[in-house]
């Protein structure tokens, strides 16, 4: 026996106990991964009826968009030549000489936009209803990485037509990445720029767009689908009233749920076709350095919010690294969300801080995007940036706090819809037709709120600044009044939205009364 073993023996520690401790620790790690990856679960489990709802399948619709892009992209690959000299002419050839070529390019572009928008909606829905909680942490992280890959598709695909707009925007993006700290900057430069020649850049972007990123996305998709199969769809956050048995009934994946998904895919496909028909794509002129000098370089809409942050005067020059650091912090926080939001409840009523943070994020992204669209190429003064971004955050926080105070102050804290400490009211309230359309209403309210809120906040702040700097005039006062009216509607929308998200549909009075009756029982 060695001295160390004697020491352990004297202290009452035996080798067998040590092995058992290691075994327990190993079992704990294996159990943690098994719980999350579902390695020992059965596959193709049936789904509950409440998942027959488009909001549960936003990610699936993004996959449908990806599939459409795969088909349209594969056809375009036959004609496209990835060299700086022929990229534009081959794109123009598809436009002018290939049967339905323009339509093909339009569908490819719009489904890419739809995929990015659906991925964003999927993420924000997951955030608000807190699907990232145990045991779905790895699903959330996988989904976030898939979101970044989707943005990568947008970034790499945008350059390929070699138009003056796309090349200038990509140059801006590459320039921004060079401001990242080493070795990250060097790695990204190596990955997307190579030797620095245009030929190398186009080839690398093309390779990433058609081979590497689709492969990575498919691998991640397989992993995420496997975890979805292991955990099943998440329970709805329906507030204190439990779901009726009818909504909990299980339906088979095939044919019931498959048919529902095909229904959604068909409707989405038809919408994409008709939008592409109504708004056909126009190809911008070919890139030349002379022509590029006349354009205000601007990335596509999904990167505009980041670009608008970088346009703030404070972040010019060496400040660019700080700005990119701030944006990176937001992304890292989103990835690590399951480990930051550690509360056990998924109820919106009990997660005011996180819900408000999410609303501020959505609001800021929307405001920055619209603002970026309206001010191409112009540097944003620091005071204006502080006023608009700070104002947006303060207004959303106040509206959210007010809405919580008005709606939830009388509501005792409950658990999820599965019951627990909440009173059982029976399924009568949920077994109405309105329950089936509640999600649709929520989405409509959300979009309306976002649009009105964005314009309302922007207009109000801009009107207030104009009023202070230029004095009062009829046009300024009218614009300010209209913006305030929009903001009021947005506030009312927020109140109504939060009410619906947590309590379902019906009048507030009826709901509160029904709840109180149940609570007393």
């Amino acid at each position: 026996m060695t001295e160390q073993d004697e020491e352990k023996s004297r202290s009452g520690f035996h080798p067998s106990e040590e092995a058992a401790t290691h075994e327990r620790a190993l079992a704990k790690v294996v159990h943690w991964f098994d719980n999350r990856l579902g390695l020992s679960y059965e596959l193709l489990r049936p789904a509950p009826t409440y998942s027959v709802n488009p909001f549960y399948w936003l990610g699936a619709l993004a996959v449908v968009a990806f599939a459409i892009q795969g088909v349209t992209g594969a056809i375009m690959m036959i004609y496209y030549i990835p060299t700086p000299l022929q990229a534009y002419s081959s794109t123009l050839y598809i436009f002018q000489n290939v049967s339905y070529g323009r339509f093909l390019e339009t569908v490819h572009l719009y489904t890419a936009y739809a995929m990015i928008m659906l991925a964003f909606m999927h993420m924000m829905r997951g955030y608000f209803v807190s699907v990232n909680k145990k045991p779905r942490e790895l699903m959330w992280i996988t989904g976030m990485v898939m979101g970044f890959v989707t943005l990568g598709f947008g970034f790499t695909g945008y350059l390929l037509p070699w138009t003056v707009v796309s090349k200038s925007a990509t140059d801006v993006g590459i320039g921004m990445m060079s401001a990242l700290p080493q070795p990250l900057s060097g790695f990204i430069q190596f990955l997307i720029v190579g030797g620095g020649t245009d030929t190398g850049t186009v080839l690398r972007f093309y390779d990433l767009h058609v081979v590497v990123l689709p492969g990575v996305l498919l691998l991640l998709l397989v992993g995420k689908m496997y975890m979805l199969e292991a955990h099943g769809v998440s329970e709805p956050v329906a507030g204190p009233i439990p779901l009726p048995e009818k909504k909990r009934r299980l339906i088979p994946i095939f044919p019931d749920l498959t048919i529902y998904l095909l229904e959604l895919a068909a409707m989405f496909g038809a919408a994409m076709l008709l939008i592409s028909l109504a708004f056909p794509l126009n190809l911008a002129p070919e890139y030349t350095p002379t022509l590029a000098a006349q354009y205000a370089s601007q990335p596509d809409w999904y990167f505009l919010w980041i670009y608008q942050v970088l346009k703030i005067r404070l972040f010019e020059g060496p400040g660019l690294t700080v700005a990119l650091g701030l944006v990176s912090v937001v992304f890292v926080a989103l990835i690590l969300l399951p480990f930051l939001d550690r509360g056990t409840t998924r109820r919106i009523a009990s997660r005011m801080r996180w819900v408000t943070l999410g609303l501020i994020f959505v609001g800021e992204v929307a405001v920055l995007t619209v603002w970026g669209y309206l001010t191409p190429g112009s540097i944003i003064p620091n005071e204006q940036a502080a006023l608009v971004l700070g104002g947006t955050a303060i207004i959303i926080a106040l509206v959210s706090a007010g809405a919580y105070r008005v709606i939830f102050r009388k509501m005792p804290v409950g658990t999820t819809s599965s019951g627990g400490q909440t009173p059982a009211l029976g399924g009568s309230l949920y077994a109405t037709r309105s329950f089936n359309t509640a999600s649709l209403w929520t989405a409509t309210s959300f979009v309306a709120l976002l649009t009105l809120g964005t314009f309302g906040i922007g207009g109000s702040i801009s009107g207030a600044v104009q009023l202070m700097s230029q004095g009062s005039s009829l046009s300024i006062l009218t614009s300010l009044a209209l913006s305030l009216a929009e903001l009021s509607v947005a506030v009312a929308g927020t109140v109504y939205l939060l009410y619906r998200l947590d309590l379902g549909t019906g009048s507030i009075k009826r709901r509160v009364k029904a709840f109180e009756v149940g609570w007393k029982q």
Binding site: Y100, L262, A270, L277
Partner: protein, 90 residues
Amino acid sequence: MTEQAESMGVRIVGLLVIVGFASSLALWTLDTSLASGESLFAVYLSIDLIAFAMISYVYRVTKTGDSIRRIPLLAGSVMLLLLLAASFAV
């Protein structure tokens, strides 16, 4: 599900099958060299997809024993009529 709703569902499925079949047939007759072919292609394919979605909806709801709701069917039918009208205008 009421008998009336069920019979409505069955009748509409019959019509939708005819519409879907006709639009599929029309897709094969398109002249790909014409500029208008692009628009007609989108319209006919949309008709096909919407008809398919409506048939699936009726099948799914009937199978699960839920009642067929009129709003989705009416909205789909109006959309189909508009697209059929548009196919003549293109």
